[in-house]
């Protein structure tokens, strides 16, 4: 039983590089001929470099977003802190009774 298992494991280990090589080969060939559809073709980068000039404007928005993120974090932190303290208290209680 042991022996069969080791053989199987060894075989599977041999299979990995083989798979990798066949897969690599196949997809390299595919990439060259372009037979496989690439969704990237019809979606060229649509970056609009408008923002660069508006260096001063977004700061108000920036502070607002910062505020919102900080408030979310404060809520999460408070929740975690309360749970942590409660767990610590119960841990101490159980430890005392044992």
């Amino acid at each position: 039983m042991r022996i069969i298992k080791t053989i199987i494991v060894a075989m599977s280990i041999c299979l990995i590089p083989m798979m990798m090589s066949t897969g690599l080969h196949f997809f390299m060939a595919r990439a060259q001929t372009g037979a496989v559809v690439s969704s990237g073709e019809n979606l060229k980068i649509t970056v609009t470099p408008v923002r660069k000039d508006e260096g001063a404007v977004p700061s108000a928005v920036l502070y607002r977003v910062l505020g919102v993120v900080l408030i979310i974090w404060a809520g999460l932190a408070a929740y975690l802190f309360i749970i942590d303290r409660r767990v610590a208290r119960i841990e101490k209680e159980i430890h005392l009774t044992e």
Binding site: M1, I4, K5, I8, V9, M11, S12, L15, I16, M18, M19, T22, G23, H25, F26, A29, A35, V36
Partner: protein, 220 residues
Amino acid sequence: MVSEIIRNLAKDLRVEFRSRFAINISLAFAVIATLALSLATGGIPFPPRVQSVLLWLIIFFSAMNGLSHIFVREDDRGTSLFLLVSTTSDAIYLSKLIYNLIFMSVLLAVITPLFVFFLQVNILGIPPFIISVLTGGLSITAVTTILAAMVAKSGGKGPLFTIISFPLLLPVLWLSIFSTAATLESTGPHGYGTQLFLLAFSGFITALSFLLFRFVWLDE
């Protein structure tokens, strides 16, 4: 070990042939889906890529309807304990895997001609098409056999099998869809890279499942 596997397999085949429940359900699903598609299109053929996607969707869902039954039945009838007493877990896995392979080949032998017949599929490269369908079916079986055991252990909840199979089957379906579409589209020379990859993948997954099966099937 070999005699155990053969004994178990013969028993499984006999029991399943008596009831024919799982295979009937799977085949009925496949026939209904194919006929519904053909009826809805009214005989206008789809483009090859769509045909390939539909073929693999039908194969995937009919397989999902039937492949878990072999393990779920053992749990349903309460025979899993007796099976465990008489057979080692490795022999159980291998015999169930072989049974599922037979099941899958029956399924493919019915679904594929039906699909080709009703949806007016024009296959340009017949041998590569057959090979890519067979390797895809093999990989689906290899991946889902151990998952079927997990589903059976959780009480045979049907939809769960599809949910847990899908992430693992995605690479298989993906590659099969691409390679099948390629055989439908072009007459040119076909490389067998994808099929080799799928063969190696199913061998790898089978080895891993063989090692993991005892943890799934044996209770602590």
